[in-house]
Amino acid sequence: MTNDRETTMNDDHVLVLDAVAKSYAGVLALAPTSFAIEKGEFLTLLGPSGSGKSTLLKLIAGFETPTSGAILLRSLDISGLSPAQRQLGMVFQSYSLFPHLTVAKNIEYGLKRRKWSAERRRARVAEMLAIVKLEHRANALPAELSGGQQQRVAVARALAYDPDVLLMDEPLGALDRTLRLEMESEIKRIHGQLGTTFIYVTHDQQEAMHLSTRIAIMNNSQVVALGRPDDLFRNPPNVFTAEFFSDATTVAAEVDDRTRFRFEAGGDGSWAAPAGTAPGRYTFGIRPRAARLGIVEGAPVLRGTITSSMLFGDEVRLFIDADVVSGLRVVIPSRANTFAPGDRVDVSIPWEDAILLPNAPVTSRAFHAGATR
């Protein structure tokens, strides 16, 4: 687990959100949110639709003005500035390439507005075309390009004038799966090559995991978790993150005074909880790949019936109705799948892969973002 508090307290912040909030006619669209982004980070705002991630991006871009709080770019409050004055780069989901301008002219647009000399512009356009590997399409019109190529032009155009921060609003949403994976590596490569700070919005947790250095998980108009993808995935700080990001099935559980763990809905067993676990009520999270079929020594066990299975090539996803929870998902290698629907199985969850969340209102660990009041 990283020590986020330490890393966000240094002076290398590009963007700082200070209790930024937005409401429309009294309806809360974003609860007060505070966090800081370091130079060169790839921060993803991840959440289901309506979670406030787009509102937050619009506030940063300048299409919306915060109801309260401040947005600091290089320690300058930009909350009241127009989008043009903020000097940010942005890639829209629809790419928004100017249809009447060629690829080169699209990329040049921001440079012209910044009154770069013709010579400098030409050199920079050539450089950006090389970075996105579209040198041969410089004089094409956007309509003549494929979706992936248009996406690259949009990225090149937004990065041409070297903005402090590049904002991307679900940029891969319109692409098919194969192309999306290809563009993910492209975006990752460009981020690594240029070192620009990226803020990326998506509802796809796979995409967020592939790309991000940090992820802010949003739900109900607030940031509910913020941290490195691997930390958040293995140690989600709350039930929403466990279910939405770690894809876990959650079960109510309790730990008694003698640190014996048992599921609340009954079941026949009790197990020794990890050393130092306080007594109380907990939510127990089971990631599909954390569960094992069969008995594992010392690990909590659920008994259930396989209801169906779904093949994912090398892996099979089994759906199990257990005695304490239904719809439990367990992923096992295809070659180990000797099971059929109707089979009774034991599902063990070794403590090192289990998620154990105390049923207290506030969480600890990787999460330190605002909006907890």
């Binding site: 871009a61 300048g62 299409f63 127009s82 989008p83 043009a84 903020r86 000097q87 940010l88 780069g89 942005m90 829209f92 629809s94 928004s96 100017f98 249809p99 009447h100 647009y109 921001g110 507005r113 910044r114 155009r157 937004a158 004038y161």
Partner: protein, 289 residues
């Protein structure tokens, strides 16, 4: 068994079959033939009874030349005004997030649509006549009244007011096709609000402005009531002259020749426009209005 054999193998399409389509449009074609094409042919025959000598006569006469000049300059100016004003209103309708603003714009735009030509023009008379509201205001301020009625500018005002609905409807059709994210993006890239409008919206809507202008101009040259009510004898329009030729001078060939000239000019404007911006822009502008 025979039932199955008799089934015709034809792919299913939602559109009407050709023979039914022909039957369906037949009444429209018949109406067009009887009420438009036939009279037009008569018109051309009437105007060319003595060869095309009558064309030379109307084109060389002082009143003919004056009417042609007035009609085309006034229509051109009115077209410019209509396209400009309609663009501003149309863009407001396209971009505003407030529904009441949009509704208000539409009501204002469509109001002249629902009024008769005579009502519309007499409303303007009430405003700009020598004892009208505007001159009363000038007098109240201690200024000399201005003769506004019975002048070409008055006609231009009347035509512009009448044709703004057509301008807004045609231009709005074009604006609806413009992705507003393009303008947002232009601003993120460093453009000012007006810069993004001139560098992105205007180039994209350009063909639409031309198509809209052509439609407005073609409608404008045929105006009759407005020049009579607001222009009077000083600003004769072609339509006014045609009426005078029929009812005052009983010179039907001259009236026919002037009508054909009017028609040919309107037709030429449309053809040149289609050549300039393509049939797509014109069709879009016309079908949405």
């Amino acid at each position: 068994m025979t039932d199955i054999l008799r089934v015709r193998r034809r792919e299913w399409t939602p559109d009407i079959r050709k023979r039914y389509a022909l039957v369906a449009v037949l009444p429209a074609i018949a109406l067009l033939a009887v009420f438009v094409i036939y009279p037009l042919v008569l018109l051309v025959i009437e105007s060319s009874q003595d060869g095309f000598e009558v064309y030379g006569r109307v084109l060389s006469s002082g009143s003919g030349q004056k009417a042609i000049a007035t009609t085309f300059t006034a229509s051109l100016v009115a077209t410019g005004i209509v396209v400009l004003v309609s663009s501003i209103i149309g863009w407001t309708i396209r971009t505003t997030r407030r529904r009441w603003v949009r509704a208000l714009c539409w009501v204002c735009v469509l109001a002249p649509f629902w009024m008769g030509a005579v009502v519309k023009n007499y409303a303007i008379v009430l405003l700009i006549s020598n004892k009208g509201v505007v001159n009363a205001g000038l007098r109240a301020l201690g200024l000399d009244p201005v003769q506004m009625l019975y002048s070409t500018p008055a006609v231009v005002l009347g035509i512009s007011y009448s044709l703004i609905p057509f301008g807004v409807l045609t231009i709005n059709a074009v604006f609806q096709t413009i992705d507003l994210n393009l303008l947002r993006n232009a601003e993120v890239l460093g453009s000012t609000r007006s810069g993004s409008i001139f560098r992105v919206m205007v180039p994209l809507a350009g063909p639409g402005f031309i198509a809209s202008g052509a439609i407005v101009f073609a409608l404008s040259v045929g105006f009759y009531v407005t020049p009579v009510v607001l222009g009077g004898a000083k600003s004769p329009f072609l339509a006014t002259l045609i009426q005078a030729n029929i009812l005052q001078y009983f010179d039907l060939p001259a009236a026919a020749a002037l009508s054909v000239i009017l028609l040919v000019v309107a037709l030429l404007v449309m053809i040149v426009t289609i050549g300039l911006v393509g049939v797509g822009s014109v069709r879009r502008a016309m079908t949405r209005s």
